[in-house]
Every structure is written in structure tokens, then in C-alpha cells.
């Protein structure tokens, strides 16, 4: 299709002649017909039924749009496809729509209903994209619809949709500023949002719509400070800039004492002078006393502390934003930290360098010391672009001081030889500035510059002349030699500015060079007509001055020059000539002024101050466009001056509401103490409260296994220590607040769980999530160090319930078929429980079959109690691995990959009632999202041959924050191959797999000792595997051996007389092959492990697993 369409576009008519033109109908070559017929083929393609044709057409149209070609006449054809099913077509239609809707408002309305439908979609991403396109269509008629959509989206469950709503606010505002008040309401609402996803976007909206409404920030200030590090880079920039302004209005100048001290000194001096007005003095003293003890507002400190880590950002804009914040807000002593980061930016792209250097130049004027250690970083390389060189020069000049001037001048000297003449000129000017600023080197510089006058390059000479002129003005008396030298130069120098400068100098100091000056005027009179205007003006000046001081020699010359000027083309020069003539040449008419001519022309002129162009630029907020341009750009918000007295800091306090945990400030000491007591309880989670750490707390929490709990532990520890080491008062308050919040979380576990669904990492949410995590880890009964008895108990209680449910069901259905199996199973289960109980009470392990039946009567509630106890037990001995096998959880779907749906599974070691050849797998779903998940079911199992799956009944609905457990059966065919299948929700499918440990492929059977020996006798030879081992330190008694074997494999204990042997029996679930395990203890901690099994592979694997368990 795109083969031969190489035609020129009549309309676009740009430079792209001969380029292949997309979207051009090859048939329409004619000039007149083209407008009607062009794009006909595209229209046809868009009307076709085939998505591929539509796509091709849209691609060509978008390519036209990208090139800036007009494609507006296709609007009707394109807009029809807005509801197209194909995602890419749809996307391209959106692109087109956003581009042309403004021009074709009526037709654009056709598409609105599609977006309105999209706004109601259950999928958050579709809702968000519908809102995004709807708000991007700049059609005034739909303003009410947009307003409604934004309002609705602002209270959407999904933070992503809320973020999109925040983005839509400025769009609507620019379309219809009338809506401002309503939009501010929405902004206010979104500002209260606690997710990092929304924070950046809403502050952006705030800045565009109502930057003056600073009071909206009060309540959200602390939250924004705390969220900052987790907000995306671009949002960080916007928030930091806004907070800089905010801080300027709310806090006191941290450097106030310095200025005050100076002031105070002065005042004392005056005070001693006039002792009379004592009262005034007192008032002053009172004011001083009141203001002197400056204490930084804790919120001010919070801002400085939370922005500092961002200096390490890879994003130059973020670094610059933090740097300007420190420059404008930090105490003088702390500003230094930004220097290193800014110097780092100088290694970035040249555009970045350009902007950074501009800001550094401004900073160096105020705070020179900050950059002095980095002097060498500003040295200029021959490969730098000229504009960078000149800015570096500026910085170097600002940095020059008595101590480093010689180094800097030496460096400058190498620059003068550069081939880049603009740069050389700038260097000479810089030398001049150094000379004026640092008195010591003035003569040195002047001499150096004079030597430059003999430079071969005229530009260098000219620039030197200009600079010397400025320098000479400071002490002309001592430098008549130089003036003479310069007078000689007038013959050679052609650069007008330099000539003018020399002439001005001679005129000004003609008394120092009485002999040369008239001669110079003579020469100039000769060439007057050929000079540039500025030179002519200076010739007139020179003539006038000479006439006044030495009229005898120069009278005629002056008159000649004045006559020439009278007929000059330039009216400025004509005016000047007339003016001078009237002033200096006494005539009858000349008025009183001529008497003062000498005073007028030869007045003492103040020496010029060579100033940096960057002086006082810091009244613009650094890093801003306005600062760079040194003029106010549109929409620039002035950086307010510090207030004289601090506004009420309590406006930033936020009360704890019943439902939502928020920042609060606790005032009473007592309360504080109470909280402190609680600390050890929460101490473990404390670390997670830091914003950086918490990012991983979320991702880890699900997948964390025993081994890495220590890792996060160490992370949190260090974090804690950081937090603790900060002794400032507000620090404590902060912590307290966190704790308080946590407490609220705890008291409302339901709430926290539902809130957890928010995918973002808002500070608050993290804490809530932490709560959930703790609950979960409790139920896992892994060696997590935290234990929360209440929550975990309730959880495990419910689990137990469900287990017993299945138990009873099983009893009903298969009472006769598997009585023994069931019994032994029960027994083994009891055993583990019993063990934990015994363990706790420190009983001697006496495990005989007679004991177990007693335990059968344990009520489920008691069992759950035990479970709870066993949890505490693991806390006491955290090194024990997987103490109770029945609850070891494996992860099936991580909650991040599962978009909030977390799935875990365990082998609950119950017989699977519908099919005894299957292994029962208990699956535990947790819905962490904010919306309910529907239709959870299994699809498309991909299994090894022979394997079978009995799916669990479909779960119709899982409300947000809830969990549910189901049991499914898998026939693994006695292999450890994974069972792969898809887990489906109403929106998504996840590929998951369950891989059983070998120990879970069997089920216990009850055998007597004799039976065991008999069976063992039949499974000799290749079916017997045996190995020697050394028992692990904590595995020396029977009890722990039984515990460990049971943890590893689902086997039943065989009672036996000998206390040295432990025997276990079971059979594989699928084929029913016997599995016999013997552990014979020997002296000195050794043991012999024997596994007899018909299936050799299983035997070997089991051997390995048990060995591993026992050796530890």
C-alpha cells in the first residue's frame, strides 16, 4: 500500500520534497481534484471490516499528524472507529482525536459516549484511560461532563484513576477558568490523598490552578514531606518547589540570628550615644530577647531532613530542586551539602551544565565558601562549548578571593591563549573584575592587561582597553604611563569600542598627558568622517574637554570637529555638537551655563563598579525559568520574604479521626510515656516505617521465607537506630504519631486490610500493610520473630475450623474405606500438636499410640489454642525449621504479580475425600486490592501425563480485603513434577504451578512393629536405601527426631519397643506403594537412616530430605 505513494504534498509544502507522503492517494495528482479526492483510500480502509486495514490506515494518518500535515478532513471517518475493539487502532484513534477534536467540536461529541462508558468500566486502567482522553478533548460543550467525571474519579477506589483525575484538573481549568472554585474543591480532596501515586500530580494541579491558596497545604504538609522520597521523580520536583514557597510563608528565617547579631552590635553603639530615650532602648532589647533564641520549627526541620536524600537522585531536576530548597530555606551552616551534588551535575549533558552553572553563579555571590573547595571543578576545558566556558568563568570570578586569586589568575592566563575569541574577551573582563574586587592584585592585573595591549589579536587588545579604562578610573594619577601607551595604540586599534574608550580616557585625563592629547585630537579630526558613531561622540567629548583645559592649542581643531559634526548624518551627533558648542564657546547669547562648562565636563566621575550579572538574581527562586532569564516568566510565583513572626504552627496539626489514622501531635507528656512503654512491642515494625524501607516491605512480605527475614530485620534495625539517634523533640513526636497510628491500625484490623488494597505506598498505608503482614506471618507460623497472639489466634482458629470441616465431610463420605488411614492421620497430626504442647511444658517425650487417642477429644478451640502456643514457641526458638508441617505455606502467586491477589498453598495432610488418590492442597486466597475479585477458578491445567486435578469449586466473589481457603486435589502420580495451571479471576489469568515436596506425596498408615518388620523384609535389595548420619545438635532425642521426620514427610509413627529406633510408615497417595523409614540411633550422636520403598526414586528423594532435616 505504501509502495509507490511518493508525491509532494501540495498543502504542507514544506522542505520535505521527495519524501514519501503517507496518506496520499496516488490517483489524485491534479491540483484541483486533490482536495476532494485525497485520503479517499484511507477513508475506505477505515470503513472496512478488517482491523488490519484500519490499523494500516490509522498508522498512516498518525504519521501524517506527526509530520505536521493536515489530516483534519478525515475526522468523520476516524471518529467512527473510536469504539473499535482492536487496542492499537483504538489508541491511534485517541491520538488523532485529541489532536483534532478542538477543530471539529461537533463531530467530536460523537465519541463522548464511548468514554463515558469507559468511565464506568470495572477495570481501573480502562477508567483511567477514558478519563484521560475525555479530559484531553478541548471541547467547551463537554465541560460539565468533564467536571462530573473528574469529581467521580477523584473518589475512585483506584489511586491510578485518582492520579488521572489530578492530571485532568489543569486541563479543565485551561479550558474553562470559570470552574476554578469547583476544581479547588477537588484539589483539596485529592491533596488529602495518602498515596504517592497521586501526590505529585495533585500538587502539579495545585500549582497550575490555585498556587495562591497556600492554606490548603497546611494539613497535608507533613504527609507530603514524608511521602516525598517515594513519589516519582517528576512529582518530587514539583512538590519540592511548592514546599519551598510554603516554607517561606510559614517558618522563620533560620539565619535571622546572624543578621540580628550585626544589627545588635550597631544598636548598642547607638544606644550608648543617647541615653535619654530609655524606653525605646528597652523595647528594642525586649524585641531582641524575644527574637534571639531562634528555634527551628520541627516542621521546617522535617522538610530539610526529608529532602536531603534526594540530592542523590539521578534526576538533575530533582537535585536542583533540593539544592534551591536548601539555598532558600536552610541555615547557613547546612547549605554546604548541596555543593557536591551540584558539582556532580556538571558532568551531565551540556544543557544541564548550562542551567546548573547559572544557578551556581547566583549562589556563589551569596555563599562563596560553599563552592570554594570545588574550585577546580570549574576549570575550563578547551572542548567546552563557549556558553559553558563563559559561565564557568563567571563562577571562577565569583569564587576569587585573596587566597586563591593567584591560582585563578594563572588559570586565566592559559585561557587568554584560547582560539575561542569570545571566550578570551570574557576572560579579560573577568580579570578586570577580579582586579576591582581584590585590591591586592589590582596592579598585577593592570600590568598584565597592559601587556595584552601588544597582543596580535585585535579583539584581545580592544577588550583589554575597555577593561583598563575601567580600572584606571579608580586611580588615574599613578598611571599616566599607561594612558600614554594607550594613546599610541589609537593608530592601530580598529575596534570602535576600544577606540572610544581610549579617547574617553585621554579626554578625561588630558591633564596627565598634556602633550599627547592635542595630537590625538588632530589625528582624530582627520579621520572623523570615517569613524563609527560611538567614536565620533567621544571625539566630540575629547575636543570639548581639551578646549576647556587647553584652548590655546585646540581651539581651531575643536571648531573644525564641531563643524564636521554639525553636518553629520546622525542626529545624535548633530545634537551633541550643537550642545557642546553652546556650552563651551562663549558667545553673547550663551547663558549662565557656559560658566559652569568646566564643571560639567570635567566633573569627578565615580569609578564604575564591575558587577556580576548574577548579582541579586537570587530574588528569583533558583532553578526556575525566571531566574535563568532574569525576568519574570508567565505564571511565576514570587518567592515570599520570610515572615517577621512565625504563623501559628498548629495549623499543620491533624487530628486523629475515628476511621482514618492520620498525623497527630500528642501534647501531653503522659500520653507520650504510655506510648513509649508500648515501643518494644512494635519495635520490630518500627523500622518499616521509614519510607525507603517500606517499599520493600510490601514486595517482600508475601514471598519472604525464613532465611531472609533476618535480612529485613537488619534493615529495620539500622533504620531504627537512625531514627532513634535523632534526639530532637519533634523526632519523638513523629515516632509517637506513627505509633499512635499503628495502634489505630491494630484496633481496626478490618479497616487496615481493606485499605491495604491500595497498590501505592502511602506512608499510612505502609503501616497498615505492616499490620496485615504481621497477621499473615503469624498465621504462617514460620519463624517470624513477631508474634501477635490475638490476630494470629483468630486466624488460625478459622483455619482450624475449615480443617475440621473437611474432616467431618470426609468422615461422612468415606467412613469405611479408609478407617486406618484416617486414624493414623489423625494420630500423626495430634502428635505434632502434642509435641508442641509437651515441648512447652518441658515434658519428657513419651510417644506411644495409647496417648494419642486422648488427644482426639481436644476441641477445635483448644487445638487452635495450641496452635497459638506453638507459635510463641517458635518465637522462643527461632532456629527450628518448620516445626509443624501441617501449616507450612508455599507461595502460589505473589501479591504484586497477582495485582493484589495473593495466593498461598499448603499441604494440609488431610485425605482428599472426592478422590483418595489425590493429594489435598489447601489454597488460601487473600484479596489485597480495593475492589472485589470475582470468579476465581482454575483453567487449562497443563499436566504431565497421568496427573489429574480436581478443581476447587469456583469462588464467585472475594470481597476486598477478605481471605478465603479452599481445598483442591492433585494426583501427582507419585512424582515431584509440578502441576501447572491457570488461576483465573474475572479480569486476569495467572500461570501458576504447584510443586510438591516428596514428603507430601504420601499418607500415613498404621502398622504394628511386626507388620513393619515383615513389610521391610519384603522391600530389601534395590528397594532399600540406607545411610549413616550424624544427628544435628538439636536433634538428639526421639522427640525431635519424630518431629523432624514428620515435618519432612507425611508418615505415621510405628510403635516399637526399642527406644533407640524410630519407625515410620506410610504409603504413596497415588499408587499406594509402601514407604518405610527407620531411624536407628547409635552412640555418640550418630544414626542410621533406612528407607524402604518400592519406588526407588521416591525413596532416594525422601532419604535426602530426611537426612537434611535430621542433620541440622
Amino acid at each position: 500500500m505504501s509502495s509507490s505513494s511518493a508525491f509532494n504534498d501540495e498543502k504542507g509544502g514544506s522542505s520535505s520534497v521527495g519524501e514519501p507522503e503517507y496518506g496520499h492517494d496516488p490517483a489524485s495528482g491534479g491540483i484541483f481534484s486533490s482536495d476532494y479526492k485525497r485520503h479517499d483510500d484511507l477513508k475506505e480502509m477505515l470503513d472496512s471490516n478488517k482491523d488490519s486495514l484500519k490499523l494500516e490506515a490509522m498508522k498512516r494518518i498518525v504519521a501524517m499528524v506527526a509530520r505536521g500535515k493536515n489530516a483534519s478532513d478525515l475526522f468523520p471517518a476516524v471518529v467512527k472507529n473510536v469504539a473499535c475493539k482492536n487496542i492499537e487502532v483504538k489508541k491511534l484513534v485517541y491520538v488523532y482525536l485529541v489532536r483534532y477534536a478542538e477543530e471539529q467540536q461537533d463531530l467530536a461529541l460523537l465519541s463522548i459516549s464511548t468514554f463515558q462508558r469507559g468511565l464506568k468500566d470495572p477495570n481501573q486502567l480502562i477508567r483511567a484511560s477514558a478519563l484521560r482522553v475525555l479530559s484531553s478533548i478541548r471541547v467547551t460543550i463537554i465541560v460539565p461532563i468533564m467536571m462530573l467525571a473528574i469529581k467521580e474519579a477523584a473518589s475512585d477506589m483506584s489511586p491510578y484513576v485518582r492520579k488521572t483525575a489530578a492530571h485532568a484538573i489543569p486541563k479543565l481549568y485551561s479550558l474553562d477558568p470559570e470552574q476554578k472554585d469547583q476544581l479547588i474543591e477537588v484539589i483539596e480532596k485529592l491533596l488529602a490523598d495518602k498515596t504517592t501515586l497521586v501526590a505529585g500530580s495533585v500538587v502539579m494541579a495545585f500549582e497550575e490552578v490555585c498556587p495562591e491558596r497556600i492554606e490548603l497545604i497546611h494539613k497535608n504538609y507533613r504527609k507530603l514531606c514524608n511521602l516525598l522520597i517515594d513519589v516519582e521523580e517528576w512529582g518530587q520536583v514539583v512538590i519540592i518547589n511548592m514546599l519551598t514557597r510554603y516554607a517561606r510563608t510559614q517558618f522563620l528565617n533560620p539565619n535571622i540570628n546572624e543578621s540580628l547579631l550585626e544589627e545588635g552590635g550597631e544598636k548598642e553603639f547607638y544606644a550608648s550615644d543617647d541615653d535619654e530615650d530609655d524606653e525605646e532602648k528597652k523595647a528594642e532589647a525586649a524585641a531582641l530577647a524575644k527574637r534571639k533564641p531562634y528555634v527551628m520549627d520541627p516542621d521546617h526541620r522535617l522538610l530539610l531532613r526529608n529532602t536531603k536524600p534526594l540530592l542523590q537522585s539521578r534526576n538533575a531536576a530533582v537535585v536542583m530542586a533540593v539544592a534551591q530548597l536548601y539555598f532558600h530555606l536552610a541555615p547557613k551552616a547546612e547549605v554546604g551539602v548541596i555543593a557536591k551534588a551540584l558539582v556532580r551535575l556538571l558532568r551531565s549533558h551540556s544543557e544541564v551544565q548550562y542551567v546548573v552553572l547559572q544557578n551556581v553563579a547566583t549562589m556563589t555571590i551569596k555563599r562563596r565558601g560553599m563552592f570554594e573547595p570545588h574550585l577546580k571543578s570549574f576549570y575550563i576545558r578547551s572542548t567546552d562549548p563557549t556558553q559553558i566556558k563563559i559561565l564557568k568563568l563567571e563562577v571562577l570570578t565569583n569564587l576569587a578571593s585573596e587566597t586563591n586569586i593567584s591560582t585563578i589568575l594563572r588559570e586565566f592566563q592559559t585561557y587568554i591563549k584560547s582560539m575561542d575569541k569570545d571566550f578570551v574577551a570574557a576572560t579579560i573582563e573577568a580579570i578586570g573584575r577580579c582586579a576591582t574586587n581584590i585590591g591586592e592584585v589590582r596592579d598585577t592585573c593592570l600590568n598584565g592587561l597592559v601587556q595584552l595591549l601588544s597582543n596580535r589579536d585585535e579583539l584581545v587588545v580592544a577588550e583589554s582597553v575597555v577593561v583598563i579604562k575601567k580600572l584606571l578610573q579608580m586611580q588615574p594619577e599613578q598611571h599616566s604611563e599607561i594612558i600614554k601607551h594607550m594613546a599610541k595604540l589609537i593608530d592601530n586599534i580598529q575596534v570602535p569600542m576600544a577606540r572610544a574608550s581610549i579617547l574617553w580616557l585621554i579626554g578625561e585625563y588630558c591633564e596627565h598627558v598634556p602633550k599627547i592629547a592635542p595630537d590625538v585630537l588632530r589625528k582624530m579630526a582627520k579621520t572623523f568622517t570615517n569613524e563609527e558613531d560611538i567614536v565620533k561622540l567621544q571625539i566630540l567629548n575629547l575636543a570639548a574637554k581639551l578646549y576647556l583645559t587647553n584652548s590655546k592649542q585646540t581651539k581651531l581643531l575643536t571648531q573644525y570637529v564641531l563643524n564636521l559634526a554639525k553636518y553629520d548624518q546622525n542626529y545624535d551627533i548633530r545634537d551633541r555638537a550643537r550642545f557642546i558648542r553652546q556650552l563651551i564657546v562663549p558667545t553673547d547669547k550663551s547663558g549662565a551655563l557656559s560658566k559652569y562648562a568646566k564643571k560639567l565636563f570635567l566633573a569627578l566621575k565615580p569609578a564604575p563598579v564591575l558587577e556580576s550579572p548574577f548579582k541579586d538574581r537570587d530574588h528569583f527562586q533558583l532553578g526556575s525559568l525566571s531566574h535563568l532569564l532574569n525576568t519574570k516568566a508567565g505564571g511565576y510565583q514570587e518567592l515570599p520574604e520570610w515572615p517577621d513572626s512565625a504563623p501559628d504552627p498548629s495549623v499543620r496539626n491533624v487530628e486523629v479521626k475515628d476511621s482514618v489514622p492520620e498525623w497527630s501531635k500528642c501534647t501531653s507528656r503522659k500520653e507520650r510515656k504510655e506510648k513509649k512503654v508500648e515501643k518494644p512491642f512494635y519495635s520490630d515494625s518500627e523500622g518499616e516505617s521509614g519510607p525507603t524501607e517500606s517499599a520493600d516491605s510490601e514486595s517482600d512480605s508475601g514471598s519472604r521465607s525464613e532465611s531472609d527475614s533476618e535480612q529485613t530485620g537488619s534493615g529495620s534495625e539500622s533504620e531504627e537506630s537512625v531514627e532513634e539517634s535523632q534526639s530532637e523533640e519533634e523526632e519523638d513526636e513523629e515516632e509517637e504519631k506513627m505509633k499512635k497510628k499503628k495502634k489505630v491500625d491494630k484496633s481496626q484490623p478490618k479497616k487496615s486490610e481493606s485499605a491495604e488494597s491500595d497498590q501505592s505506598s502511602g506512608e499510612e498505608q505502609k503501616k497498615e500493610r505492616k499490620g496485615v503482614k504481621q497477621r499473615r506471618s503469624g498465621s504462617e507460623s514460620e519463624s517470624e520473630e513477631e508474634s501477635e497472639s490475638e490476630s494470629s489466634e483468630s486466624e488460625s482458629g478459622s483455619e482450624e475450623d475449615s480443617e475440621s470441616d473437611t474432616d467431618t465431610r470426609k468422615k461422612k463420605k468415606t467412613p469405611a474405606s479408609k478407617p486406618t488411614a484416617k486414624d493414623t492421620k489423625k494420630e500423626s497430626k495430634k502428635e505434632t500438636k502434642e509435641i508442641s504442647l509437651l515441648d512447652l511444658d518441658d515434658f519428657a517425650p513419651t510417644s506411644s499410640p495409647q496417648v494419642t487417642p486422648v488427644n482426639n477429644f481436644l476441641s477445635s478451640s483448644l487445638a487452635s489454642d495450641l496452635e497459638g502456643l506453638s507459635l510463641t514457641d517458635t518465637v522462643l526458638a527461632p532456629t527450628t525449621i518448620a516445626p509443624s508441617a501441617s501449616v507450612r505455606m508455599y507461595e502460589l502467586l505473589h501479591r504484586i504479580t497477582g495485582e493484589g491477589l495473593g495466593v498461598e498453598y499448603c499441604f494440609n495432610r488431610q485425605a482428599f475425600s472426592p478422590d483418595p488418590h489425590m493429594v489435598a492442597v489447601q489454597i488460601h486466597f487473600t484479596n489485597n486490592t480495593s475492589c472485589e475479585t470475582k470468579n476465581l477458578h482454575i483453567e487449562e491445567p497443563k499436566l504431565q501425563s497421568g496427573m489429574r486435578i480436581k478443581e476447587f469449586p469456583e469462588i464467585d466473589m472475594l470481597p476486598a480485603g477478605e481471605s478465603v481457603s479452599v481445598v483442591m486435589g492433585i494426583d501427582f502420580c507419585d512424582s515431584t513434577q509440578a502441576a501447572n495451571f491457570q488461576l483465573c479471576t474475572h479480569t486476569r489469568k495467572f500461570f501458576v504451578s504447584i510443586q510438591p515436596p516428596v514428603g507430601e506425596l504420601m499418607t500415613p498408615i498404621f502398622l504394628t512393629e511386626n507388620e513393619f518388620k515383615k513389610e521391610q523384609g519384603q522391600l530389601m535389595g534395590m528397594n532399600e536405601i540406607s545411610d549413616k548420619l550424624t544427628l544435628g545438635e538439636k536433634c538428639q532425642n526421639d522427640h525431635s527426631i519424630i518431629e523432624r521426620v514428620n515435618a519432612t514427610a507425611n508418615l505415621g509413627r510405628v510403635p516399637c519397643g526399642s527406644d533407640k529406633d524410630c519407625r515410620f510408615a506410610g504409603k504413596t497417595v497415588s499408587s499406594g506403594s509402601l514407604v518405610l523409614v527407620t531411624v536407628a540411633r547409635k552412640e555418640g550422636g550418630g544414626a542410621q537412616l533406612t528407607v524402604n520403598c518400592e519406588k526407588m526414586v521416591i525413596g532416594t528423594m525422601l532419604m535426602k530430605d530426611i537426612l537434611h532435616a535430621l542433620m541440622q
Binding site: Y94, D230, L409, M419, E693, S703, Q711
Partner: protein, 433 residues
């Protein structure tokens, strides 16, 4: 914020335009062209140009000007940084960020720009998220696409935007799990004519290529983290852990990314791997000059110096060069006045030498300044600062990844032959005079 974007090539053609708010006529670029003309060289075009109604913020990269149009106050670095991010994204997607690549993939470019900004405010700038939305073109896919008419746009909705680790895409799966880290150090140095170091420092970066399944949580520690003076991180690195323990702890993005860049403590002496003996002189009469350059290895820690290239920016009056090189090849471009001598591997026994005469424009005065040399080099398996990675640990996933660390040292801005006035000789600006 960012109103529109124009991409302009060196010839001054606007070959792509994108508007995020209402359309701004491309005639606004005339102000840019004016500034470009004034600046003579692309490097010298001011990054911010003021026009009566707009502000143009531009970057120059890979022979393309990215000119963005701004209407109201915005931090200029914000825009500049974003434009560079766009250029990097193109590079990431198309292999290079050239005009041809952009024109060939104009639809993808347009879709990318659409996703990266919303109403002028950055929306998705993480490569992993964008790749979930819009798949990068490959030869195979474009062939398949052209046959089947399927698309580059991802079928599934991107979940990355919703996550708290936006840099990582969900559901990553690899059969071979590998994590490679390249520690690349660059020496920035200015040496004077006698070979004394005027200024030297080491900049380093750690680039990573991580292809790991699931959600791995990595911890990278150094043997000698004290060497690092100033660091900047990818957003994935947990800053607090760095502050307290000096280890890099992070959930990595999928694929290639820059983990950190650092600056080595200034107190440490910088080893200079090569020395240069140079003698470039111009004769007052006869319009000719002589050039003699010899290079040799200095402090190389027993490693070979490779890929040595010497570049000399000759003064304008040098018309041509007639030289002989004992090793490698040289080229002289009389238009740009750049002499390039590509040496290759540095040989300890036989030092490479470039010698010969230069012909100057007759009648022109001899150049004042002797040109300085820019040297490019590479040393494999060596981080010149001595930085060493101690170990890499992975948490959160159960498989064993394959890990590797590579060290490379390069010359950054390495310049020799700067004429620095000596303190002993009488100076132009000597204080004693």
C-alpha cells in the same frame, strides 16, 4: 508544562511535531533557527530561548535538536532532563536515536510521546512500563506484524504504573537467571606539557544487566565503599541502607539500567595510565610546522592499555599533515581541523610514535597556542580507583542466579599538553612584579 515538541535535524527540517495541549504553529521554531544561526555551532545554541509568547527549551543530541515549547514558568532542568529521557527512550527502543530511526518508527515514536506526557506533565518515563504498553520493534515482530496485521501495542493492560516499584515489570520470567554488573570508571584529567597532573579525578558508573525472574531483592556490597565520595542512584536503591551500611539494596528493574554513578574521593591520588611526549611546533617562516608524539604506558597495574586514540584539534591555519605513524593509522580532516590517530593496543616494548610535518596556510601568522591532545583509552578488568565488588546476594526468590562483575577503565575527558605557566618563571600576572 511542556506544550509541544519539535524534532529538528541539522539541516533545519522539522521532521516531527507533537502537541500535548492545543496546537502551536511550527513557525515558533523560527526563533530557534535565528538563535541557531547566531550560535554558529550546535553546542552553543542557548538551551533556553525567549520568544514573545513562548519559551523554547531545547537539547541537542545525536544530531537532532529536541525543541520543546513552554508557555509558563517551569524549572528548565525539568524539561531538559525529560527531553534527554525521551532521547534515551528512543535509543532504547530503536537502537539509536537518529533521524532515520525516528522516521522509520514514527508511529511508535508518537505513541511513546503520547504515553510519556499527559497534558505536558510526565506520566510514564520508566522504560519497563513503556515496554509493557508499547513493544519495541524487532525485525521479526515487524515482519509478523506486516503479515498478520497484529500490533505493537501491548494487549494486556500495564500493571507497572500501579505498583510501588514502577521500574519493574510484573511477571518476569527467565530460564537463565543472570545478573551482570559493569563497573566502568573514567579518568578525567588535565596534564600539562611536562606530564604533570594539573587536575585528575575518577568518575565511575555501575551499569547493570539484570535478567532475573520474579521479584528478586538484591544486595550489592563493596570491599572498599569508603572510596566513594559522591554517589547518585537509580530510584530503586534504598538510600537509607546505603547511608547506614554502605550496601546497595534494591529490587532491580528488568534488563539494562544504570544502578549508580559515583565520584571517587578527591584525596586519593589518581593513577595516570599513560604518558605522552609531545612536541608540536610551528615555524615563523616557511609556513610549516612539525609534530612528534610518543605514547607510553605509565601506571597500568599490569594490564594492557587498549583502544588508544589520540585526537588533536589543530589551529585553523593548519592545512594538511604529512605524518608517519609507527603504529596504527592517522587521519586529518582539513575541514574540521581534527587529527585522529588510532593506535590500538599500547605496546610496552615498542612505543607508538607519530612524526611528520604540518603545512600551514601561507602568510597567516603562526598560531599562538599549541594544540592540546585528547586521549581516549580503555583498560579491561581494572577499576583504576581500586573499587571492588564484594558480593551480591539475592533474597525473595528461590533460584540461584548467575552473577558476574566486569571492570573497565576508560579515559573520560583526558587532555594533555596544557600550557600552564610555571610558578618559577616570570608571569604575566606575577605578583612579584
Amino acid at each position: 508544562m511542556i506544550h509541544s515538541l519539535f524534532l529538528i535535524n541539522n539541516a533545519g527540517d522539522i521532521f516531527l511535531e507533537k502537541h500535548w495541549k492545543s496546537v502551536i504553529s511550527r513557525s515558533v521554531c523560527d526563533y530557534f533557527f535565528e538563535a541557531q544561526e547566531k550560535a554558529m555551532e550546535p553546542d552553543n545554541v542557548p538551551p533556553v530561548i525567549r520568544t514573545p509568547h513562548h519559551y523554547l527549551i531545547n537539547i541537542y543530541r545525536d544530531k537532532i535538536f529536541f525543541v520543546s515549547v513552554i508557555q509558563t514558568e517551569v524549572p528548565p532542568l525539568f524539561v531538559i532532563e525529560f527531553l534527554h529521557r525521551v532521547a534515551e527512550m528512543f535509543q532504547d527502543y530503536f537502537g539509536d536515536c537518529s533521524e532515520v530511526a525516528i522516521k522509520d518508527n514514527v508511529v511508535i515514536v508518537y505513541e511513546l510521546l503520547e504515553e510519556m506526557l499527559d497534558n505536558g506533565f510526565p506520566l510514564a518515563t520508566e522504560s519497563n512500563i513503556l515496554k509493557e504498553l508499547i513493544k519495541p520493534p524487532t525485525i521479526l515482530r515487524s515482519m509478523v506484524n506486516s503479515i498478520t496485521g497484529s500490533s505493537n501495542v501491548g494487549e494486556t493492560l500495564p500493571t507497572g504504573q500501579l505498583s510501588t516499584v514502577p521500574w519493574r515489570r510484573a511477571g518476569v520470567k527467565y530460564t537463565n537467571n543472570e545478573a551482570y554488573f559493569d563497573v566502568v570508571e573514567e579518568i578525567d584529567a588535565i596534564l600539562d606539557k611536562s606530564g604533570t597532573t594539573v587536575f585528575a579525578e575518577i568518575q565511575g558508573v555501575i551499569d547493570a544487566c539484570v535478567k532475573l525472574s520474579g521479584m528478586p531483592d538484591l544486595t550489592l556490597s563493596f570491599m572498599n565503599p569508603r572510596l566513594l565520595d559522591d554517589v547518585s542512584f537509580h530510584p530503586c536503591v534504598r538510600f537509607k541502607r546505603w547511608e547506614s551500611e554502605r550496601v546497595l539494596s534494591f529490587i532491580p528493574p528488568d534488563g539494562n539500567f544504570r544502578l549508580m554513578s559515583y565520584h571517587v574521593n578527591a584525596q586519593n591520588l589518581v593513577a595516570i595510565p599513560v604518558y605522552v611526549r609531545q612536541n608540536i611546533s610551528f615555524f615563523e617562516s616557511g609556513s610549516s610546522g612539525r609534530l612528534d608524539i610518543t605514547l607510553g604506558p605509565k601506571q597500568t597495574m599490569g594490564k594492557t592499555v587498549e583502544c588508544v586514540v589520540v585526537t588533536v584539534h589543530m589551529p585553523k591555519v593548519v592545512l594538511n599533515a604529512n605524518l608517519t605513524a609507527t603504529q596504527g593509522n592517522y587521519t586529518y580532516d582539513p575541514v574540521t581541523k581534527i587529527l585522529v590517530w588510532d593506535i590500538g593496543k599500547l605496546n610496552q616494548q615498542k612505543l607508538p610514535n607519530l612524526k611528520g610535518s604540518l603545512s600551514l596556510q601561507s602568510g597567516a601568522p603562526k598560531p599562538e597556542e599549541n594544540p592540546s591532545l585528547n586521549i581516549d583509552l580503555k583498560i579491561q578488568q581494572l577499576a583504576i580507583s581500586g573499587l571492588k565488588v564484594n558480593r551480591l546476594d539475592m533474597y525473595g526468590e528461590k533460584y540461584k542466579p548467575f552473577k558476574g562483575v566486569k571492570y573497565v577503565t576508560k579515559a573520560g575527558k583526558f587532555q594533555t599538553g596544557k600550557v600552564v605557566p610555571k610558578q618559577s618563571s616570570r608571569l604575566l600576572f606575577d605578583k612579584t612584579k
